[in-house]
């Protein structure tokens, strides 16, 4: 669209920080008020980072 083909990549990059932040917040919230402690839920962070990396790659190779 309109030659702004750099946009999708930078959108994924820009969105990475906020999503990571939300994930960390959610895990801590579950640790404090939910049944699972942070020491059991931390792998979710790796999964989220991995998924974001994959999506970055997918969008950049698609363009």
């Amino acid at each position: 669209m309109n030659g702004v083909n750099v946009q999708p990549v930078s959108l994924m990059r820009a969105v990475r920080g906020p999503i990571l932040l939300i994930t960390i917040g959610t895990l801590f919230a579950i640790d404090h008020v939910g049944p699972y402690s942070f020491s059991t839920t931390w792998p979710a962070l790796l999964i989220v980072i991995g998924v974001m990396k994959l999506m970055e790659r997918a969008t950049s190779s698609a363009s």
């Binding site: 702004v4 946009q7 930078s10 959108l11 990059r13 820009a14 969105v15 990475r16 920080g17 906020p18 999503i19 990571l20 932040l21 939300i22 994930t23 960390i24 917040g25 959610t26 895990l27 801590f28 919230a29 640790d31 404090h32 008020v33 939910g34 049944p35």
Partner: protein, 477 residues
């Protein structure tokens, strides 16, 4: 130019609001709220950033390289470290391990199977019953005869009937005599965690025995027992009624501890919410942190409350002593009375003997009865209000470092001003009363005066007097 984020100003507004609320309404437990809910700050922060980035993207504005900048990450790391520390440090932590939420979480798995419980045993020479409950609610009632009767039901969480039946066999409710004790066990620890067990029991024991209860989660209800009662639980509501001996209660968390008519001493330790004691013939000692309201009515012997920053002592309570977050009051009590805390409004009414109040912030209201002793009341920030009975004898010295003095009592009290300092002094020949505030108003008046509508025709005659002192007090420089 890249668009600038709205998160930084929002954060500033939030921090400002937080501190303002803390200053204006000190009774709101901001620290505890922060300790428990700080992760939601991260979620809100992240969501705000995400929303921003998306809006910028779809309005075609240039995007920042990173959604969350390096500086922000540093703040976030500090927030995480500080938040975790305050969470572990606060009592919020101890509330969760066996809380309702985790129980509910596990109840999702499997089904509940119920099994009736029926057991009976004669007590022989034993003088004490020990209950090892684990999870569940229990009612202990003193009865005639010399038999222990256990009735009720056991609930086992399992995927199917055979699993549940096995759990039922593995965790039988037993009554075992052990020396001069009789132990009632539910054996819940013997079955694995996948089949959670709990027991709701009603136990009748001979009236003259003592009772000791140990539990993890669930309420204790003890009635009509002549011996001592001792309860130790991780999370429990405790209700005692008509106990002939003393009571010793130690809880890591509780929603309520209520004791009505106990002949011996009552000793409560740990953390919880509300405490209600009424008609206690022995001493009362409460030690720990409680987030709700503590009421004490009719305590014949000394009452002592101690938490990390509050200490209250009353010699004898014929009326009511109430301790809540941000407010401590005592009415119709025998002194010596002592209240020491950081932030709270304090009201002492109708007390005899001496009184001592020491606060960092909060208003003090004192209405001694005619037979009071020495009174010392000190606050760093707040007003002091003294209401004396007409014709009371006292020797008053009241000082405010910064604030007004209202002498509604009239002669022989006199205001002496000295810069911002003012002192009200005067004596009718009686015990000393010392009032002191660093910053705040001091008012001294007679009981019945200016409380309701102007009483009788006496007041108008005296009215011209009070406006006079405040005029010289604020010396303008």
């Amino acid at each position: 130019m890249r668009p600038r984020s709205i998160v930084a100003p929002l954060l500033l507004i939030a921090v400002g609001t937080l501190f303002l609320v803390r200053n204006l309404w000190p009774e709101i437990p901001m620290f505890e709220m922060f300790a428990r809910y700080w992760p939601f700050l991260l979620i809100i922060w992240g969501s705000a950033r995400l929303l921003e980035v998306l809006i910028w993207h779809f309005t075609g504005r240039p995007l920042p390289v990173q959604g969350v900048s390096g500086g922000e990450w540093i703040v976030i790391v500090f927030l995480c470290v500080f938040g975790s520390m305050s969470f572990w440090g606060s009592n919020a932590y101890s509330r969760w391990p066996n809380s309702r939420i985790s129980v509910r979480g596990l109840e999702i798995f499997g089904e509940r199977f119920e099994f009736p419980v029926n057991a009976e045993q004669s007590t022989g020479k034993a003088s004490r019953v020990v209950l090892d409950l684990g999870r569940g609610n229990v009612t202990i009632v003193g009865a005639d005869g010399d038999k222990i009767k256990v009735t009720g039901h056991k609930t086992i969480q399992a995927y199917n009937q055979t699993d549940a039946d096995r759990g039922d066999k593995e965790a039988p409710v037993e009554i075992v005599p052990m020396g001069d004790q009789i132990v009632i066990r539910t054996n819940q620890e013997k079955i694995d965690k996948n089949r959670r067990a709990s027991a709701d029991l009603e136990i009748a024991i001979p009236r003259n025995m003592s009772f000791e209860g140990r539990g993890r989660y669930g309420d204790f209800d003890v009635r009509d027992i002549a011996g001592n009662v001792e309860i130790n639980s991780e999370n429990s509501g405790v209700r005692l009624q008509n106990i002939g001996g003393g009571a010793k209660i130690e809880l890591r968390r509780s929603d309520i501890v209520r004791a009505v008519s106990v002949k011996g001493n009552v000793d409560i330790k740990g953390r919880g919410q509300d405490i209600e004691l009424e008609g206690i013939a022995g001493q009362v000692t409460v030690n720990g942190s409680y987030s709700g309201e503590l009421t004490f009515r009719n305590v014949a012997k000394p009452l002592r409350f101690e938490s990390s920053n509050t200490e209250v002592r009353v010699e004898q309570t014929t009326g009511l002593v109430k301790i809540a977050l941000g407010n401590i009051s005592a009415e119709n009590v025998q002194g010596p009375v002592k209240v020491r805390t950081k932030v709270a409004d304090v009201q002492l009414r109708d007390f005899s003997q001496t009184a001592e109040v020491q606060l960092e912030r909060g208003d003090i209201e004192i209405r001694p009865s005619a037979t009071h002793g020495r009174i010392d009341a000190k606050t760093d920030n707040g007003s002091v209000d003294l209401v004396v009975a007409p014709g009371a004898r006292f020797d008053l010295t009241a000082t405010t470092k910064r604030g007004e003095i209202n002498n509604d009592f009239g002669a022989p009290l006199k205001v002496e001003a000295e810069g911002r300092n003012s002192t009200l002094r005067g004596s009718t020949g009686g015990p000393a009363i010392h009032l002191e505030t660093q910053r705040g108003e001091i008012t001294v008046r007679r009981a019945g005066q200016s409380e309701t509508a102007p009483p009788r025709g006496v007041l108008p005659k005296k009215l011209p007097e009070p406006p006079a002192p405040p005029v010289p007090a604020p010396v303008q420089q």
